[in-house]
Amino acid sequence: MDSSIITDLFREFTPMAPMLVMLLGALVMPAVSLGYKRRGGVAAVSLAAIAASLLINAVLLASGYSGEYGGLFGYDAFSGLMILLFQSVAFLAALVSASSTETTRLHFGAYSSLLLAATAGMMFVATADDLITIFVGVELASITSYILAAMKRKDPRAAEAAVKYVIIGGLSTAMTVYGLSMLYGVAGTTSLDGIAASLSTAGFSWAFGIAVVMMIAGYGFKIAAVPFHMWAPDVYEGAATPVSMFLATGSKKLGIVVFFKIFLLLFVAGSAVASFATEEVQYAFAIVAALTMTIGNVVAIAQTNIKRMLAYSSIAQAGYILIVMAVMSEYALTGGLFHMFTHVFMKGGAFLIVGALICVGVGEKISDYRGLGRRAPFLAFAMLVFLFALAGIPPLSGFTSKVILFSAAIFDGDGVMTQWIWLAFVAVLNSAISLYYYARVAKAMYIEKGESEAKLKVPAPFLAAIAVCLALTVILGVYPQLLLDFCADAASALFG
């Protein structure tokens, strides 16, 4: 495909084109909300902004465009793919927000604006080539999401969740910045390429070690990696469900993208140097990954609130993705990217169903889902698919992506066995454990009898979003090639 339309229009700003559109949308949104009394109109405009951004990105991605802006932003297959991911999340969130009873009615313009801004922040990170742009992008996404988390009507839990979110978020930011300052001190530059270059000559140092730990902790918060995960269940439970979905599928990926950007770049570039402590860092990540998936899954078993359960399951899923950081191979990255995508649709779909059901008065307890199979056959079926996909039951997308991700822990791309096979064991066993709590929901929906038999009718936008997620969950499962090639390209783009 030819990207000349866009490059002509945006000229040297082309690498930032999708974000600029998104930002523009964010800026005009308050004004738009003045014009529309109803939320639908505002939502339509924000959807249009996202769609425009999506379109631009799609064209760029499909045309294989790559370019950079001032050493701060660079667009390549990797960033394009990640932008696509964030856009998808934003699209799903924006689609359902207006019809949800949980989201704010009065401040919907602001809500939409914040949503777009947060997405823009994430997209900036995806293209960022510099610590400063990464930092600012992450903060843009974070600070807006603090507010989003609080914007829920008539629920004191949202207020509490936002407080926890902002405090832990702030603490993490502080740690991150401290780590970044150390990194800057060691490397003398904030450009990622520059850091890689300078580190590969300077080797490892204590200061760099501090930087690594601080950055793992700070961005681990975004990912909700154990033990920096504790805010997540509370926030996901407290926030409006579309926001929870946005956070679980989008915000979490943001942290991972940062990890990919900084660590993969630094360590893969630096691993040529003998003194560079790649293996130690890999082990650290492996242990964090193992802990994250195990604790996420195990605690999820004990949950009775479905949003909390999904939150813990998200934590576990992040643990799976962290395998990439332990293995640090191109093949693993391919799997990780693919899993990030499949996770968007399966976890997003599950959250959307929860949100849709809240709109029609079904509670958040798993026990409230009893008899759902008869009350809302489509939703129940979709939920079943999402949960089984999350558990890694074939032929759904979660399975296919896990196959690649977990196999990456055993073998690198060249068929040589890695030392991370134990991690694969932990991962598959966790995957099996997770089936327990997913199956419990399935059981509640299909097997147990509910108190009410009344049919449920959920808002159409929810249905549409869920249908999209459902379709993609199945399609990416049976025909992963649709996306896998892009993931492979993105991985090779990042590895250079």
């Binding site: 399975f399 073998f411 064991f425 419990r440 059981k443 299909y446 090639q481 896998l484």
Partner: protein, 499 residues
């Protein structure tokens, strides 16, 4: 070869997957007022599948058949849609088709959401056919897992009082085993990758070079996965629970064809791809088999629930399969495969009979029953027939399998100076006769029980009798002429040869 009729149907193997799949969807759609007709739809589709599976027996080259299409080729992976049927799988495919049709016939009385019930049966058939036909690890694993879900729902919807516990236990336990197996599969596939492409097809893996240590390690992973499915002691405890709670149709398929997935996997994957691994762990396979045989038989004696007893007997008989495989001789493997087939036929009769006991009489507790032969002669006949077939009455199909397996084991034991091990098999044979006869004495014979209300008890209905009758005829037919099955198995085992 009486079978060699050279019939050719294009896309036969794909049809074997598609027909039940379409059937499942069509049957599921027969909800609401149309649910009375669900069984006819399901019956038609399952009959069609059975016919196709039967036709497969008469195709060229004794049922050896291939279909292959490229599926996913990306990121250094190559997964293909390859279906392959040979002497090992053709009987299992036939058995799956047959049993699904027969349980559909058998369950025609099912009144609670019959559309879902029959749809689940057909969905299970898709998975079963897929497992036995796929020649690509990716497809194989998908199908392997696909069988779980319908069974999970089958147990939890239509099962007994503890169905939730049993269903979840079944689901999780076997899933844990599958994921371990999955790791083994990864190891195989990636170790054999060449040119930077990991090809998931069976053939590519067969071409791979594996060191002895690698084989020994990976064999264990795969073996664990399959052993749980079979199930081998001590990884068997999901089975009695699942069987006790599952509806009859579910039990029949579970014991009749799903357990065979385990032994099938051991032969198809462990033996074919990892011959040195198998040799290294031969003692383990044999020990597992022997323990299962004796342990299962003993456990049967103590059971009060008729169905649980039969479930444990399955463990014992699948132990026979394991033992046959463990001999790693042509005879042992051939007889192991034959035992898979034989046990599939026999255990279907047993579970149908136990299901009838629960359904018609209202209880399967052996101490509560007694003297039923006078009240339900046909039931008594089938029960006795099934038990006799299962305890290895010569001239019925089960005997030849057991005879062959123990003989192969004799060969093995004799050449390794461990002849005394044979005693375990013989003890188990005796115990098997013991628990079956004791159970019959307490249920069919003696005084008519007064512990339960028998006023509404009626004998077997026509469709049920038809299903049982067909199975019994097959048991007799293959008992008189086992060579009919050997004709398929022999060339395959011969090609396995090298072991």
């Amino acid at each position: 070869m009486i079978y060699d009729l050279q019939i050719e149907i294009p896309y036969l193997l794909t049809l074997l997957l598609v027909v039940p799949l379409v059937g499942a969807v069509a049957t599921a759609a027969m909800g609401g007022k149309r649910e009375r007709y669900a069984k006819y739809v399901a019956g038609a589709f399952s009959a069609a599948t059975m016919l196709l599976a039967t036709v497969l027996l008469f195709t060229k080259d004794m049922g050896v058949y291939d279909e292959s299409y490229s599926w996913i080729e990306s990121a250094g992976l190559r997964m293909s849609y390859i279906l392959h049927v040979d002497g090992l799988s053709v009987l299992m495919v036939f058995l799956s088709g047959l049993l699904v049709f027969l349980v559909t016939l058998f369950s025609s009385r099912e009144g609670d959401r019959p559309n879902c019930f029959f749809a689940l049966l057909l969905a299970m058939e898709v998975g079963l056919m897929g497992v036995y036909m796929s020649a690509d690890y990716f497809l194989f694993y998908i199908m392997w897992e696909v069988t779980l879900i319908p069974m999970f729902f089958m147990i939890s919807w239509y099962g007994g009082p503890r169905r939730h516990y049993a269903a979840i236990k079944f689901f999780i336990y076997t899933h844990v085993a599958s994921v371990v197996m999955l790791i083994g599969i990864f190891a195989l596939v990636f170790q054999s990758a060449s040119g930077g492409v990991a090809d998931f097809s069976f053939q590519a893996v067969l071409n791979g070079q594996f060191s002895d240590t690698f084989q020994a390690m990976v064999f264990l992973l795969l073996f664990f996965g399959f052993a749980v499915k079979m199930p081998a002691v001590p990884f068997h405890t999901w089975l009695p629970d699942a069987h006790t709670e599952a509806p009859t149709a579910g039990s029949v398929l579970l014991a009749g064809v799903m357990l065979k997935m385990g032994s099938y996997g051991i032969i198809r994957i462990c033996l074919e791809a990892l011959p040195q691994g198998a040799e290294h762990w031969q003692w383990l396979i044999i020990a597992t088999g022997l323990v299962a045989i004796v342990y299962g038989a003993y456990a049967c004696i103590a059971q009060r629930d008729l169905k649980k007893m039969v479930a444990f007997s399955s463990i014992s008989h699948m132990g026979m399969v394991m033992l046959g495989i463990g001999c790693l001789s042509e005879a042992g493997i051939q007889m192991g495969i034959f035992q898979m087939f034989a046990h599939g036929l026999i255990t279907a009769v047993l579970f149908m009979v136990c299901g009838l006991a629960g359904h018609n009489i209202g209880t399967r507790e052996i101490p509560l029953l007694g003297g039923l032969a006078s009240k339900m002669p046909l039931f008594a006949f089938f029960m006795m027939f099934g038990f006799m077939a299962s305890l290895g009455l010569p001239s019925l199909v089960g005997f030849w399998a057991e005879f062959g397996i123990i003989f192969s084991f004799y060969e093995y034991a004799s050449s390794n100076g461990m002849l005394w091990l044979i005693a375990f098999c013989l003890i188990a044979l005796l115990l098997t006769a013991g628990y079956y006869l004791w159970a019959m004495q307490r249920t069919l014979f003696g005084r008519l029980t007064s512990k339960i209300d028998l006023s509404h008890v009626h004998d077997i209905s026509r469709p049920e009798a038809a299903a049982l009758g067909i199975l019994c005829l097959l048991i007799i037919a293959f008992g008189f002429w086992p060579q009919a099955a050997f004709d398929f198995i022999e060339p395959y085992v011969g090609s396995l040869g090298a072991i």
